[in-house]
Amino acid sequence: MRSQIQRTKAVLLGLVLLLATTACAPPWVPIDQTTPRPFDMTPVQIKMEMPLGWMSSYYAPVGGYFFFTVHGSELEEFWVRRFPRSAVVKGTGRNTGGTLTVQEMAEISIDSRRLDSGTGNFEIVSNRPATIGGQSCFRLEYRHRNAIGLEKRTLEYGCPVGDWLYRFEFMAPEEHYFDRFVGDFEASVASVQFTIPGI
């Protein structure tokens, strides 16, 4: 009886230690030949092709979004997220609900980035409409410096689909990494299929 309690305690302690040492980080899964195609992201109701050689991670406990990278988040960040259109976009005091045009949604996204004082020297490279998975979206490209002065470049697609605003975002240092991996990102986004019933 006593040894069983001790065993339970040891297991609990082990679990706590495991969580503490991994900082609750989700497991990394390599995208390789065995990865199902298209990559099914059921929690966010989309399917898309993913580039071979990248690593994927799903942050379910902290918001239900997917993150992909090759060498780590400092060098390539590829995010797939969706937000309720009724949710206020950070810093802007506005949401993307109602009858906004996709251009107006893009402008809200720009405002949110511009107001984030952590992103200095913010500069729009391009802002134009796009079509992804048959949906009208915006395609936004911009440069900024991060908190340590590193020049970064971001390509962002935003798609209002039903009650959600989907955001596909690729961010990398302007030098070398952006151009090297943006093609993978573009190819993946071009393959997106929205699986929300009724759209």
């Binding site: 802007t92 009858t99 251009q103 107001l115 004082s117 020297n121 802002n127």
Partner: protein, 420 residues
């Protein structure tokens, strides 16, 4: 009996240690007998850190740069700087930071940061000089060093401080500015230190020849702005209560003016009168209105833009910003506030076009006001579609390389199809 005596002793000891912990003795102020050549080792380190963070902030593009504004601010600062600072070898400098938080603070090395939010609220030069002299008082009194020594680095350093606060909602985390705040007068100084700085700041203001009597206006304007921003936020339905310490300081300042400056000697006129002051700061006012628009503070943006229109002359830009602020209020109505009509918004764009009929952005915004189906009307009339179509076509004529050309062409195709 003995227990009661022990309790009193412990209480006294606690009170004494608390009092000692709260009020540390002041440092000898900078002046002819304490110059920059006599900085203490930790003071030198603080100066070095200050220069490093200032460089980072500048590199990160957070400065608002306008040659005319910078030159004028430098002029006012030169007038406000007391002789003892120059004797100490200090060379104060002022920089404007594009930021929605209504704030102003100084570094130990005499560099003063003022946010566009605070500068745009000022209506005359005396308000600016009030802020500057107060910050110079902090520099002379070496309060940043004092705060460093007290290790009063808290997470809420951007809370009620100096002449303003960062209670403005919206905006992201300003890591660099927060780092800056940790080594500047933005640290939450003890009430006594603030009061001493107020007193010395008034002395400097008086020496510089500015009228001391109106100085509480700066603080009152700040409180009004924060109340205005509060009313537009998610918690706008909660009545705004100004923090009692700030009200107490304003009251303390009024008392100080009444007792110390009952009949202030003749003041010299400011460098610029109020109207010229507004004209000179127009780029800052417009930038602030744009920041407010971005943050969805449409009521504030309207007020700021209206102020800009008063001094903008033939410049169409403030009228465009005003129109956008009015349109914004139509998409995000504020409780207990009247929603502007579409006519009012269009009048603002038309006013911009009266100043410059080739203003592409005014043409586009006017066209968008016909194209949008937000607000009460959910469908466009034939006349509205025609006006939108004509406006978009004219926009692309005026600005063939427009960055949003692809969107506009999409609208034109959609409207042209509807025409057929």
């Amino acid at each position: 009996m003995r227990a009661a005596r022990s309790f009193r002793l412990v209480f006294l000891l606690l009170a004494l240690s608390g009092a000692i912990g709260c009020v540390t003795p002041p440092l000898p102020p900078m002046g002819a007998d304490r110059t920059t050549a006599q900085l203490e080792p930790d003071e030198q380190a603080l100066w070095k850190e200050s220069r490093a963070i200032q460089y980072e902030i500048e590199s990160a593009g957070l400065h608002f740069d306008d040659a005319s504004v910078d030159a004028y601010l430098a002029q006012v600062l030169a007038r406000a700087t007391p002789a003892r600072m120059r004797q100490a070898g200090l060379e104060p400098r002022i920089e404007v930071i594009s930021n929605l938080a209504i704030d102003g603070y100084s570094f130990a090395n005499g560099v003063i940061y003022i946010h566009t939010a605070l500068l745009a609220q000022m209506t005359d030069e005396t308000m600016l000089a009030t802020m500057l002299t107060r910050e110079l008082a902090h520099v002379v009194n070496r309060n940043a060093l004092r705060a460093r020594r007290e290790k009063r680095r808290t997470a809420d350093t951007m809370a009620w401080v100096g002449v303003g606060s960062s209670m403005v909602e919206g905006g992201g985390e300003a890591k660099l500015l927060l780092q800056a705040a940790n080594m500047t007068s933005a640290v939450n100084f003890h009430h006594t230190i603030e009061t001493i700085a107020d007193e010395r700041g008034l002395e400097f203001l008086d020496e510089a020849g500015y009228g001391v009597g109106e100085t509480p206006k700066l603080y009152e304007t700040t409180i009004e702005y924060i109340a205005e921003v509060h009313a537009q936020g998610a918690w706008g339905w909660v009545p705004f209560v100004p923090p009692p310490p700030v009200l107490a300081r304003v009251q303390g300042m009024k008392t100080l003016i009444q007792t110390k400056y009952p009949d202030q000697r003749a003041t010299r006129p400011p460098i610029l009168d109020a109207a010229a002051f507004q004209r000179r700061l127009l780029p800052v006012t417009i930038r602030q209105a744009e920041l407010e628009l971005a943050a969805g503070l449409f009521r504030s943006a309207e007020k700021t833009a209206r102020r800009a229109t008063e001094s903008s002359g033939d410049d169409p830009e403030p009228w465009v910003v005003l129109g956008r602020a009015l349109m914004g209020q139509r998409t995000k109505p504020i409780a207990n506030q009247p929603t502007p009509s579409i006519k009012q918004a269009r009048e603002a764009f038309e006013e911009a076009l009266r100043r410059d009929r080739r203003s592409a952005v005014a043409v586009r915004e006017l066209a968008m006001s016909y194209y949008r189906t937000t607000g009460l009307a959910r469908a466009r009339t034939g006349e509205e579609s025609d006006a939108a179509l004509a406006g978009f076509r004219r926009y692309l004529q005026l600005s063939p390389e427009a960055s949003d050309r692809a969107y506009i062409e999409q609208y034109i195709r959609e409207l042209a199809q509807g025409e057929r």
